[in-house]
Amino acid sequence: MTKPVTRRGILGTGTALGALGSTALAQTAPSPARGAAPMTVDVGLTVNGAHHDLKVDPRTTLLDLLREHLGLTGTKKGCDHGQCGACTVLVDGLRKNACMNLAASCDDREIVTIEGLGTEQALHPLQAAFVKHDGFQCGYCTPGQICSAAGMLAELKRGLPSAVTADLKASVIELAENEVRERMSGNICRCAAYPNIVAAILEAAGKA
């Protein structure tokens, strides 16, 4: 084997590993007998302003479409179960976990990823604020944090309450630290850069 060993290469050799006799692998390997007929689904969607028409396996998530089909690896795969928020993107302007969406369900949708929020020359205000406040350590959760914050600030503008909003009937909600922490709870930072993330978001929102 002269091919370099890659993570993807290892994942692609499931049948060879199965031959080693692991029952766990045998159980989780796709079984043609129990699965449905193979098919592809047509998906047409706009990502960061560019339209794409793709044929994908129905199992493809929006996250895998972005990373594997379009090469947009800014969106991160953390837990792949909607628990960590690293894959947060904007779908028709709403923040969502890309891992919890089938690509097929995103047909006709407009997606914005971290690559579409700002450029190196002209950072998005949230990106600039994260840099200024050191809102990260390892940086893995950062694209998700920033996309989530962008979606969250838009929700605030529309007057969406949160679990810590004292007056449910208020039409204008002040963004305070407790509101940021509650509204951003779907984004986990295992380095625990939370104080700086909160400071960055408050500044980008014009509240600091």
Binding site: R34, P58, G85, R95, L102, L168, K169, S185
Partner: protein, 327 residues
């Protein structure tokens, strides 16, 4: 994830026919179904994507509200009439999941989400819900998050929804439709206790699609949703309580109590409610209601603490609801 085929019907009639295909399941927000498909706790052969069916309206109806099944948790929580008339529902929704998930999860899907029992998710562990007849790993296992009311020796899992707990207290109904008929099911009759068939979680029939949730006119009284969990945000309830108290001066005219995190379904504590009617407002009355709400509760070891926690959370929620009524 096992292979499946996918379709997105343009209208309800097509969707209700498509669900008759072998191994078919409806897909709405997918925040739980997709998660379960990844661990192969769900293995549909065909997905019928209903997320774009025109079931997204919230409209006044007979003094109450009709909520389309595809209304997202975010939109329902933020709706002006829900915030004004059914604040416990708004609060319950806002206390569930994360901002991202609430933007995607639907009203109908929320009712059909499955337990977060770790053994249900773990395909290497026996689980009567996932593999009927294989046994319940939680009975003798780590059962800190499990049921204290209405459980059976086959399953001690709890229903994870916050929204459904508020709906139970509000006497909501679930409207469902099949290719042949439409019917309404009381929310308290919608989910089942595990008994010997924990794999059957609701009284939906094969081929039925949830089309709406119907809220009756808002009941008089102060409304509270109180949730106790391990993290301050973005976590399932250890115990949650939706409480309503209506007062006539210092006397309790009526009360409603529903609990989450304690049973296989949202748990309405009717006996505790009846005990409060006509009682004079006092800490003792609410403490007694808390005790009545957990009458017959059974701990399984790690979750023993939930019995006292539930009683006290009921008392606290009732106290807050009475204060709101006075204010």
């Amino acid at each position: 994830m096992r292979a499946f085929t996918y379709e997105r019907p343009a209208d309800m009639a097509t969707a209700l026919t498509a669900i008759g295909k072998p191994g078919a399941k409806f897909l709405a927000g997918g925040t739980n179904l997709l998660d379960l498909m990844k661990v192969e706790a769900e293995v549909p052969q065909h997905l019928v994507d209903v997320s774009r069916l025109p079931l997204v309206d919230i409209a006044e109806e007979n003094g109450g509200l009709r909520v389309g099944a595809m209304v997202t948790n975010s939109d329902l929580a933020a709706h002006a009439l829900v915030r004004e008339r059914y604040p416990m529902l708004s609060r319950a929704l806002l206390n569930g999941a994360s901002g991202q998930l609430r933007n995607q999860a639907t009203t109908g899907g929320n009712l059909l989400q499955r337990t977060r029992c770790y053994y249900f998710y773990d395909s290497s562990a026996p689980c009567n819900k996932r593999a009927p007849g294989s046994g319940c790993s939680a009975l003798q296992g780590y059962n800190r998050i499990h049921a204290i009311l209405g459980a059976s020796d086959a399953c001690i899992a709890v229903h994870p929804s916050d929204m459904a707990v508020a709906l139970a207290a509000l006497d909501a109904e679930v409207e469902v439709q099949s290719a042949k008929a439409k019917r309404r099911i009381k929310i308290t009759d919608f989910h089942r206790l595990p008994e010997a068939t924990p794999q059957k979680e609701t009284n939906l029939n094969n081929g039925e699609l949830i089309t709406a949730v119907i809220l009756p006119p808002p009941p008089a009284g102060g409304q509270v949703y109180r949730k106790v969990r391990d993290r301050a945000s973005y976590d399932f309830a250890l115990v949650s309580v939706a409480a309503l108290v209506d007062l006539d001066g210092e006397r309790i005219r009526s009360a409603r109590i529903a609990l989450g995190g304690v049973a296989h379904k949202p748990w309405r504590a009717l006996e505790a409610e009846r005990g409060l009617v006509g009682a004079t407002l006092s800490d003792d009355a609410f403490a007694a209601a808390g005790e009545a709400a957990v009458k017959g509760a059974q701990g399984r070891g790690h979750n023993d603490f939930k019995i006292m926690l539930a009683a006290r959370t009921v008392a606290r929620a009732l106290t807050e609801a009475a204060q709101q009524r006075k204010a």
